[in-house]
């Protein structure tokens, strides 16, 4: 599965905007992020807090659909976007 990341996470992806991760059975957004963590150590905690909540100024999309639930199922044809929100100054 292709995961697209915003520039705020390039530190973890070696500057890449896309990272391909393996998709297991019963895949969810949370499991994809776990797989992404294996490829890019440290990334997950910058996006998801220790209580499993998406950080306030981060946004996840499956395709064009905004997602707040890490249990949301994903399939092989989906693409996950992990982006910094339009915020800050």
């Amino acid at each position: 599965m292709i995961v697209h990341v915003g520039s705020v996470l390039y530190e973890y992806t070696g500057g890449r905007a896309e990272v391909e991760v393996p998709l297991g059975r019963g895949a969810t957004v949370g499991k994809v992020l776990d797989a992404l963590e294996q490829r890019c150590p440290g990334l997950r905690f910058r996006v998801i807090d220790e209580q499993g909540r998406i950080r306030q100024h981060m946004r996840l999309y499956v395709g064009n659909e905004s997602v707040r639930d890490l249990e949301r199922a994903v399939g092989a044809r989906d693409e996950l976007h992990v982006l910094g929100a339009l915020s800050g100054g």
Binding site: G6, V8, L9, P41, G42, F45, R46, V47, I48, D49, E50, Q51, R53, R55, H57, M58, G84, A85, S87, G88, G89
Partner: protein
């Protein structure tokens, strides 16, 4: 004997947009800039381990990203990220009352304050966070664990009012102090929450706030709940504490009493005794510096009358001197945050440094008698720490 820097003196500056390192020459006149490090990330603290003169720790959080801590051992040329940054525990599966779970279920928003551990505990560091949490590393900042005796005690809920926000950036745990004679004797302060003391390495804590005003609530002298902005243990006399509080400047001689004395009452009334930092002299327990700010009516927290000055006491707070030579004479609304002022170890001509929210870095080579502008046009400065790099 006059103690001077044994290594290269540096100023580690944390800003809202990254960290900067100013390396000084032997005379402390010229400062060479390195950085920025982690441009775009908010740095609330940036410190060097005085036990090795090499290990630099820097706290970082993005406007977007969660909080973490970075580590360098080569003056910032390369950095590695903590493998386990500070994080609160999760709620137990068996439902308990919120009070019984202490800080569990909360999420660290900011790694706010860093303090190296006792000289005998190589690699030990403490970190204070927002919401108020106390964390400890025993491997030089690579991995961090919550201090259960503070974070997980049911009293945490009372002391922090359920983790409620205290300052504009949230509730803060800061000013972690380690008694140089006893690694188990610790102090910490919370804004808000007050000051607390532990005699057993953090397993148990007691409030230490007698005599400290809390004028922002109905009960003016509560057991806890005050708003210390900055609290220091004086390196020359570990039983003497000073604090710059939301409600004045205080001193505590711990061996004699558990009641703070408001030494800010001796400040000029036109200036007041409100501010954020308090900085101890390296060897004279009666000498500290503060940076007063306007705490009247709407609390602008800028230099009183827009005429910035550092104030110094050399007699434990009985009297204060105004030190403003070289600072702007008028129309300067400076704000200096609680971690943005520090002093070096020169006992006779102490270097004193502060950074402002308007991005200027000031220094004095003669204990505050005269001030020089060291850098300007920096992002908002959140911390200034003196380091001796080896």
């Amino acid at each position: 004997m006059v103690k001077k820097s044994s290594g290269t003196q540096a100023l580690l500056v944390g800003t809202v947009k990254g960290g900067f390192l100013f390396e000084g020459d032997a005379a402390r006149k010229k400062w060479k800039l390195a950085g920025p490090f982690f441009l775009g990330q908010q740095v609330h603290d940036f410190r060097c381990d005085p036990r090795d003169g090499k290990t630099l720790l820097l706290t970082a959080s993005g406007g977007h990203l969660g909080p973490t801590i970075y580590r360098s051992t080569n003056r910032g040329k390369t950095w590695s990220e903590a493998k386990a940054p500070p994080r609160f525990g999760t709620l137990p599966k068996k439902k308990k009352s919120a009070r019984a779970t202490g800080s569990r279920g909360f999420a660290v928003k900011t790694d706010f304050f860093l303090m190296p551990g006792h000289a005998s505990e190589k690699g030990a560091w403490y970190c204070g966070t927002s919401p108020s949490g106390l964390f400890r590393s025993e491997d030089g900042g690579v991995s961090w664990k919550g201090v259960a005796g503070f974070n997980d005690t049911p009293q945490w809920w009372d002391w922090t009012r359920g983790g409620s926000p205290g300052s504009p950036v949230g509730a803060l745990l800061h000013s972690i102090q380690v008694d140089p004679r006893d690694a188990e004797h610790l102090y910490l302060s919370m804004s808000s929450g007050g000051t607390f003391e532990s005699f057993d390495g953090g397993r148990h804590w007691k409030p230490l706030n007698k005599g400290v005003l809390a004028d922002f609530q109905p009960e003016k002298y509560p057991e806890y709940g005050q708003d210390p902005h900055c609290m220091v243990l004086h390196p020359a006399e570990p039983d003497r504490l000073y604090q710059q509080n939301h409600c004045g400047i205080y001193r505590l001689d711990r061996a004699r009493t558990d009641t703070w004395e408001r030494i800010g009452n001796h400040m000029p009334k036109s200036v007041g005794d409100i501010g954020f930092p308090v900085v101890p002299h390296p060897s004279d327990a009666d000498t500290v510096w503060v940076f007063p700010m306007d705490g009247t009516q709407l609390w602008p927290r800028t230099s009183p009358a827009a005429r910035p000055a550092v104030y110094r006491t050399r007699n434990g707070g009985k009297g204060w001197e105004r030190l403003d030579a070289g600072l702007p004479r008028a129309n300067a609304w400076l704000t200096v945050f609680r971690q943005a002022m520090d002093a070096d170890r020169d006992e006779r001509r102490t270097g004193v440094y502060f950074g402002t929210t308007s991005g200027t870095l000031w220094g004095s080579r003669d204990s505050g008698e005269a001030w020089n502008l060291l850098a300007e046009h920096l992002p908002r400065i959140q911390s200034v720490r003196v380091a001796e790099l080896r």
